[in-house]
């Protein structure tokens, strides 16, 4: 393990960053890009995250056209797959406006606004840049600040998955259908896979914090990416604090916890070349802040502290949650903001008050089972939505519903089940089943990171419309889903965030998207705050000061609730139950 030296970096042409949301992928990518540009290199920094915050870091409005950062040789762009899907749809539908009847146009638009199209559009954009000769000539390095890991994995595994798909697709029955002239793209997709797996061309930086969950996530990603042939990987651990930073109770514990995580690197990453980056004493927003961080300049520290009297405690929040009787409670937010802990905490709190509770997760990278363990009792059940298991379940369902099949029929269906859309569909169905359980008990769902969540809700929306004319067998759980999610008595959405820039911006975007789907958040919970604690070290005083802006900003939302930073991560039922008692005001 050695300090990450931006100045000494001599990276491959393509660099990808991946890691759980909030670990500092964007800051690290931005710092790297800016440092290389400072050396006179021509750099393109691209975000492929549907919920990117690159524009916040550079304080620029961004779209898919690269824009020059003033006074540098750095260009930045934001690939928004949802936007790309819309453009793609317009290319497909536009020429037929006024030619085909409106009802036909609407019907085409509906079909092309699904998850399939977003997936295809994202993939297409991504490979186009990776194989572009123009980009190769223009830029010395292209840095991809990719989406949270679940999405990244999909994006990166797509080339080989689709590559195989194209080769073996013999019946022409597939979700790739919407992409006209797909076979023409086969060369491009193949080349993209080759570039990705070429250690001389591509480096993958796995970004984590000195925290167990983000390291576990990085290890999982490393294992999966190695499986698809990506060889050149490095681990970057962000926010490492020197042990000389302070000796008071919280600081000591903070450093200890970091050290434990660093000493106990999970299997998938333990062999990787590992770099550390120091803790940033200010939010890395704006170029001057990035420059200060790279050159390790000291930062002036304020002793501001936010007055949290407008905030509720978790205990008060639980009072309000139980008032309407059994409901669906969804903790939503970007990965790494503590959705799992909060979901587990609320589930335990409701159970302690005598309610029957079911706790589950739709986050492919979640650790509910890890936090609580197995089922506690008949009135407290725990499970997870595992995409792989769900696809298998869906597959079984499909073949059961289809009845007796001959060999040809079976082949045909197998082809479609291999399509990338199947995971979305399968996970969505499982999600609907979980939501439907909320009849006689509370169902607490720890949802996936934002990008994925949006796709899920998007799917909900188009499913809802599609159901009206579907002739197939519609599961009851799916039919009742959207009305249930929209009913504030039946569903409580809890926006989860941290008192930091990225998670708050992120939560605001998520809220806007939910509102478009006519879903109103019930409460906002700020997790892991140092503000309620009595801190003295420079490190934590700086942290408390940096929280003021974000706590103030969040306080304007419904039921702002604060949860203080925990000396011990609450793992297991009794630890969570203890935490509830401490959080009573």
């Amino acid at each position: 393990m050695k300090p990450f030296d931006f100045q000494a970096m001599d990276p491959t042409r393509y660099v990808f960053l991946t890691g759980k949301g909030g670990v500092g992928k964007t800051s690290t990518a931005s710092n790297l890009a800016l440092t290389l540009a400072n050396r006179g290199k021509h750099i393109l920094l691209v975000s492929t995250d549907p919920a990117s915050n690159l524009q916040d870091v550079f304080e620029m409005e961004l779209d898919e056209t690269p824009r020059l950062v003033t006074g540098t040789t750095l260009e930045i762009a934001n690939f928004d797959p949802e936007q790309a899907a819309k453009q793609y749809m317009e290319r497909m539908v536009g020429p037929y406006r006024g030619v085909l009847p409106d009802v036909a146009i609407q019907s085409m638009e509906e079909q092309l606004s699904g998850a399939c199209t977003v997936e295809i559009a994202a993939f297409d954009q991504f490979t186009e840049l990776l194989t572009s000769k123009v980009a190769r000539e223009r830029y010395d390095h292209v840095i991809f600040d990719t989406a949270p890991t679940g999405h990244t994995l999909r994006l990166l595994t797509l080339p080989s998955a689709w590559d195989e798909f194209l080769e073996t697709n013999t019946t022409g029955a597939s979700c790739l259908g919407p992409l006209a002239g797909l076979t023409d793209k086969q060369v491009q997709y193949k080349q993209a896979v080759e570039t990705l797996t070429d250690a001389n061309e591509t480096t993958l930086l796995l970004v984590a914090r000195p925290e167990k969950s983000t390291l576990v996530e990085a290890a999982r990603a490393a294992t999966e990416l190695r499986a698809i042939g990506i060889e050149r990987m490095q681990l970057v651990i962000n926010g490492v604090v020197e042990s000389s930073e302070g000796t008071d109770r919280y600081t000591k514990r903070f450093i200890e916890r970091q050290q434990q995580a660093l000493d106990d690197l999970p299997d998938g990453v333990v062999d990787l070349e590992t770099f550390t980056l120091p803790y940033a004493y200010e939010n890395l927003v704006g170029i001057s802040a990035l420059q200060r961080f790279v050159s390790r300049e000291p930062v002036a520290i304020s002793d501001a502290r936010y007055d949290t009297s407008r905030y509720e405690s978790v205990d008060q929040l639980v009072d309000e949650l139980e008032a309407d009787g059994p409901s669906v409670i969804m903790t939503m937010g970007k990965g790494g903001v503590g959705k799992t802990t909060l979901a587990s905490l609320l589930a335990v709190a409701l159970h302690e008050r005598g309610h029957a509770v079911h706790l589950t997760t739709t986050d492919p990278a979640a650790h509910v089972a890890l936090t609580i363990g197995a089922d506690v009792s008949e009135t407290f059940t725990v499970d997870a939505i595992d995409p792989k298991a769900e696809i298998e379940k869906y597959r079984t369902d499909v073949f059961r519903e289809a009845g007796d099949l001959n060999e040809e029929q079976r082949m045909m269906i197998e082809e479609d089940l291999r399509s990338p859309c199947t995971e979305e569909i399968a996970v969505f169905r499982a999600f609907a089943d979980q939501v439907a359980k909320a009849k006689d008990r509370f169902v607490v769902i720890d949802t996936a990171p934002t990008g994925h969540t949006l796709l899920l809700l998007d799917a909900t929306e188009s499913y809802h419309r599609e159901l009206e004319r579907s002739t197939g067998v519609v599961p009851e759980a799916v039919r009742t889903l959207l009305p249930k999610l929209r009913d504030p008595k039946q569903t409580h959405v809890i926006i989860t965030t941290l008192p930091e820039a990225t998670p708050v911006y992120e939560a605001e975007r998520l809220t806007a998207d939910l509102q478009r789907a006519e879903i109103q958040p019930f409460a906002w919970v700020v997790n892991q705050s140092f503000t309620p604690l009595d801190v003295t070290s420079k490190l934590l005083v700086a942290k408390v000061a940096s929280e003021t802006t974000w706590l103030e900003r969040v306080s304007n939302n419904p039921r702002p609730t604060i949860l203080s930073w925990q000396e011990q991560l609450p793992v297991g039922y009794s630890a969570l139950s203890q935490l509830i008692k401490e959080e009573v005001r």
């Binding site: 497909m92 085909l100 019907s107 029955a173 259908g177 919407p178 289809a402 060999e407 269906i413 519609v474």
Partner: protein, 119 residues
């Protein structure tokens, strides 16, 4: 003989990408596969992916002007033979002259067991 089926906007021909499994789409997908294997000129056009086919065919374009209820619509040699539903296995057998068993479940390319008494 030229057989064309104009279908509503769909994500994929088996309908697996939809909210549920529609056995009718599976049946149609299989029939077309069987016909193609036997050298018939059969095509399916999905409104979402091949709208140009709907525009190029003046009969189809005129048919859908008053609504999409006419889909799926089957044309044989350019003439409409069925609107609002797919051809049944019986209709398909009559049209193609193939035995109905060719379209039925449990048929298909199952390897036939040949028993030979000779050594």
């Amino acid at each position: 003989m030229k057989l064309e089926v104009f279908e509503p906007a769909m994500c994929c021909p088996t309908g697996l990408c939809g909210p549920s499994i529609d056995p009718e789409l599976t049946r149609v997908a299989t029939i077309h596969y069987v016909l193609q294997q036997r050298g018939f000129d059969v095509s399916r056009y999905n409104l979402a992916s091949e709208p140009n086919r709907f525009v190029q065919n003046t009969i189809v374009q005129a048919e859908i002007m008053n609504g999409l209820d006419v889909l799926p619509m089957t044309l044989v040699n350019g003439k409409v033979v069925k609107r609002g539903a797919y051809l049944t296995n019986e209709e398909m057998a009559e049209l193609t002259g193939l035995p109905i068993a060719a379209f039925a479940k449990q048929d298909g390319e199952k390897p036939k067991v040949r028993i030979s008494l000779k050594k």
